[in-house]
Symmetry: C2
Subunit: 198 residues, 2 copies
DNA sequence: CCTACCGATCGGTAGG
DNA sequence: CCTACCGATCGGTAGG
């Protein structure tokens, strides 16, 4: 009856551990976080963590996998919908920003800390990430085919630049204060979309 | 007769240490790099490093300060020149990408690892970073005042999105291979600039 | 730049 | 989940 999901839905000990690790990995980085940091956040002694998890890296695997999954589930239905490429792209950007705003630390881990995964976990995570990038690639491709996006675009660079902008949001949004995430999403969507339309 | 610069111009022991640290901090992160990693890259025993440097953090301070300085020196003259705002912005983006391509690891450290600086070094580094961001802010402001950039832009978000895209380049450019940095610079400049013009 | 070492901290475990 | 601990590694130093 256990589920494969991470934190928030599991308010038990494992959820508390995962939630603490997510926050610490996101703010201090994976290599900058010790198991003792996590334990003291949870309010437990370091050794006790291992009654609930296998290893520090298994914790990272779960957070990254679950994190990318949340973005995938939010954005894929939009990418596959029947609207115009520009309309889909706008909604995908807004959906992405909304998932970021839901938990910026999780976004930070999913998109920046996966490179600290060991050899066995790295490839599956990169597959998930590429699958997510491909949602954007396919919509840009559709837009060019339909004649509503610039045909001279280098698709991969365009998408990677867009995702670079989107994934930098958690680094600066909190120190802003004056603007809501929805505002930020709209401004970023405007800026990025205007650049690729015909 | 020693200079305040870092690596490349100093091919002595300090240059070798700084260069190794730059590469390791950029690829594995500051907290993911040990002094023993640096020592073995240089080909020296760990304790020997301290004949040339004060501490691990002093090394980070130097790399970050020098790194931001290189971007500042490349971009500031363009920002202050007499051309149109859009022309300046295009050239600033190209200059930024060129500095990234000169040493992607250094760019990675300058823009992503500064947050691991201690309390005393953090504020000065953030001042340098904000000074660099302000070059872009001032040009966007000029462009709006001159009526050649969209007046509804949120200036700070626009600039931070642009820099987010630019600073993500070192993460993915090397795994590309097919495109040169100049190509990437032009594509990114096109994408970002089209989004903010009237 | 090496030898030899310091105390602190690391991820993780056995046994209860 | 605690007690008690493991060997390994950490940043850094004294003395030459």
């Amino acid at each position: 009856m256990s589920n494969g999901d991470v934190a928030e839905r599991d308010s038990g000990p494992l959820g508390a551990i995962t939630s603490a690790a997510m926050h610490l990995f996101g703010t201090q980085g994976y290599t900058g976080t010790s198991m003792r940091d996590i334990a003291s956040t949870v309010g437990v002694l370091p050794g006790s963590l291992y009654a609930h998890i296998r290893s520090k890296e298994a914790l990272l695997v779960d957070i990254v996998t679950d994190g990318i999954g949340r973005f995938q589930r939010a954005v894929q239905p939009i990418a596959l919908s029947k609207q115009s490429a520009t309309e889909r792209m706008r909604r995908m950007i807004l959906a992405h920003v909304e998932v970021v705003s839901d938990n910026p630390e999780r976004a930070q881990v999913a998109f920046h800390q996966w490179r600290f995964l060991g050899p066995d976990s790295l490839a599956p995570a990169m597959t998930l990430l590429h699958g997510y990038e491909d949602l954007f690639v396919s919509v840009v491709r559709d837009g060019i085919a339909d004649g509503i996006l610039r045909p001279d675009l280098n698709i991969r660079i365009t998408v990677l630049s867009m995702l670079g902008a989107l994934n930098s949001i958690p680094e600066w949004f909190s120190s802003q204060g004056s603007l809501s995430m929805a505002d930020i999403g709209n401004v970023v969507a405007d800026t990025l979309l205007m650049g690729i339309q015909i």
